[in-house]
Symmetry: C2
Subunit: 389 residues, 2 copies
């Protein structure tokens, strides 16, 4: 956006989503209970953006007739697409980057997400996925004894030592989420989106995981430890690893979890065969019970499809869906053109919304081409809007 | 709908809007205060309809793949259009009959509504509009004395006699609303939409109002009394006229008034020159104060335009906007095609959503043609949907 704004004569506006960052409608009480959380919905957020855009256009000198394009990545990309769908009078088009608008029940197989993560590791080093798949049993074996738990805690430099079987389950979940996050941010250059990381971080991590099958549990997990520290300690300044956290800074985890527990129900599953994780079926009831325990709410599994159209979005227009081939979220993305003006772009070498990042000399040609195409569409929409005004 | 359903192989579903009729979310308390009324919005109603349609399609045998067309008149027509705009995945198209989707602030002149009412009376009898315009001053003159008030009360067979100046203001407002209602239901045959009425009721009323300019206030108001009784006492069974009511049965007046006081802000005004009423400017502040006094809420004048697109609805598709040339609400309707699939139909001899009524041998050719065209579009949408499925 910063790279192209001047060329397009554009003003950039970054709008904060209600209940995130400093946009707390009830201040400190915003997250206190479901009554206060009740206004945290994607529909309300879209209405905020629509009102904000109209307000800015009426109050900023010269902006009254300016066409507006919505741009966002991830959930922000979903919101961008939905803003165009629901308020086509407010935005002339949208770039929905790495927006998994089809990650809802019944739209894509629940296992696609983790299959893509696995593929990223499989192609980034010899038997990297195979060794991660083996590591779960190795953790089970070693964590079955007290000295084993102690060894794991020390080897992984954990801030809080593992004490029992329950802790080791949490430890495996944390490892799994670390691999997922690495897949999301597998960028071709050093970057600091979820964590400060080297270029192509999965390749860097997989260097520690290229064992043949004969390796011992201890050696294997020593490799896992080195690999996971590529993610958590690339700077060398991390004193210990905190298994209750997988990203630096606040991405508003609790807010997103509440949204997942109400409208944004995204089924995920693993089978341990087509992916490198322990088998875990999608269990809506368990998820619903967890939501109820945590927030006092139960998710409405079908609402996202009703509200946002699911696969039936052909009647909309002027939306670009860009997807990274390395990004697990591309499994729930729109990767084929739906019409002349609902356009899919796939960036085979791209991770999570790489196209939204600054231009970089190490950018693969596929993302350069994607950005050029995106700008071409932006210009078309602007021309269309000027003609219609 | 009943006339064409069989031919189209259609099931007819009539969904009741929340807070109207028996659909009271909090039972007797639904209207008790603004906290309980908070869920009465057009957006929530649209969501209800979307959820209902999906539920019916999934539960009624054989309905799963059936395309759905939204049909409605007046506010129901607005909802039909908006349902297609906001949930094009749920309905393949909409017939918005006499739907004043542009009756919101800044979209059409606030005086158009009453100009159309006036035109209806002007063309339905000699000087009919002129004499109604004169009648307001006559009411003022006569109601300025106690015997005059008594004479008026008796002449108009009022259930509650007029007692003072305040009552006579209310009396004039009631007369004005009666003329408006007559314009809405100026059908070519006997009908009972707002009241039981003869064919072409304005013509029947105007028979009593064809005075030359020399007439006295008393004679003029005797004529007004006869004319208004065409509306209130066509059956001859009305013992007295109740000035606090202008329609038989419940059209959910209070619910609509709350909606007008929140989202559905519809500016209206008169100038006494281009219309036959006493001049009255649109006063948003006064309206807002009235809303606050009554419901504890204040209207959001711009929200309807933000939410539903105002004049900028070109990106939508498959909506028919039908309008009656006699209907005052056509002033806020879409009367020109916006695109190949946003189609306007004008029925010059039609009052409020005449096209939605049963076929009748006295139907003017214009409404027969409109209905035929509507069915043609319905069939196209159904064919389109089948091709896309």
């Amino acid at each position: 956006m910063w790279d192209i704004a001047e060329n397009l004569g554009a003003m950039l506006i970054f709008a904060e989503h209600r209940y995130y960052g400093e946009s707390l409608p009830f201040g400190q009480d915003s997250y206190s209970d479901s009554k206060h959380l009740n206004y945290l919905t994607s529909e309300q957020a879209l209405a905020d953006f629509a009102v904000l855009i109209r307000e800015l256009k009426s109050s900023i000198p010269g902006a009254r007739l300016s066409p507006v394009i919505a741009i966002g990545g991830s959930y922000g990309g979903m919101l961008s697409a939905w803003l165009r769908m629901k308020y086509p009078n407010v935005v002339v088009g949208a770039l929905a980057a790495s927006a998994p608008i089809w990650q809802f029940p019944g739209m894509v197989p629940c296992g696609d997400f983790y299959k893509i993560v696995t593929m990223d590791f499989a192609k980034s080093g010899f038997d990297c996925d195979v060794n991660i798949r083996r590591s779960w049993k190795a953790v089970d074996n070693i964590s079955s004894t007290a000295p084993g738990l102690q060894w794991l805690s020390e080897e992984f430099s954990l801030c809080a030592p593992l004490k029992n079987n329950q802790d080791s389950i949490g430890f495996k979940a944390w490892l799994q989420e670390s691999w997922v996050n690495l897949a999301m941010v597998d960028y071709p250059y050093q970057a600091s989106f979820l964590q400060p990381l080297p270029a192509w971080p999965i390749k860097a991590a997989c260097k520690h995981l290229s064992f043949s099958s004969a390796v011992s549990d201890y050696s294997l997990l020593r490799g896992v430890s080195e690999a996971v520290k590529v993610y958590y300690n690339f700077t060398g300044n991390t004193p210990c690893l905190n298994t209750s956290q997988t990203a630096t800074g606040s991405l508003g985890f609790l807010g997103w979890y509440y949204q997942a527990c109400t409208e944004m129900v995204m089924p995920m599953c693993t089978d341990g065969v087509q992916d490198m994780f322990e088998p875990q079926e999608w269990d809506f009831q368990a998820f619903s019970d967890e939501c109820h325990a945590l927030f006092g709410v139960r998710p409405r599994a079908d609402w996202a499809e009703t509200a946002y159209g699911g696969k039936d979005i052909r009647s909309h227009s002027n939306i670009i869906f860009s997807n990274g081939g390395l990004d697990p979220w591309s499994g729930g993305g729109v990767t084929r053109n739906m019409s002349d003006s609902l356009v899919a772009i796939v960036i085979p070498d791209g991770a999570h919304h790489l196209d939204l990042r600054y231009n970089n000399e190490r950018d693969p040609p596929s993302v350069r081409a994607a950005r050029a195409l995106e700008v071409k569409y932006f210009k078309e929409w602007i021309t269309e809007a000027a003609a219609a005004a």
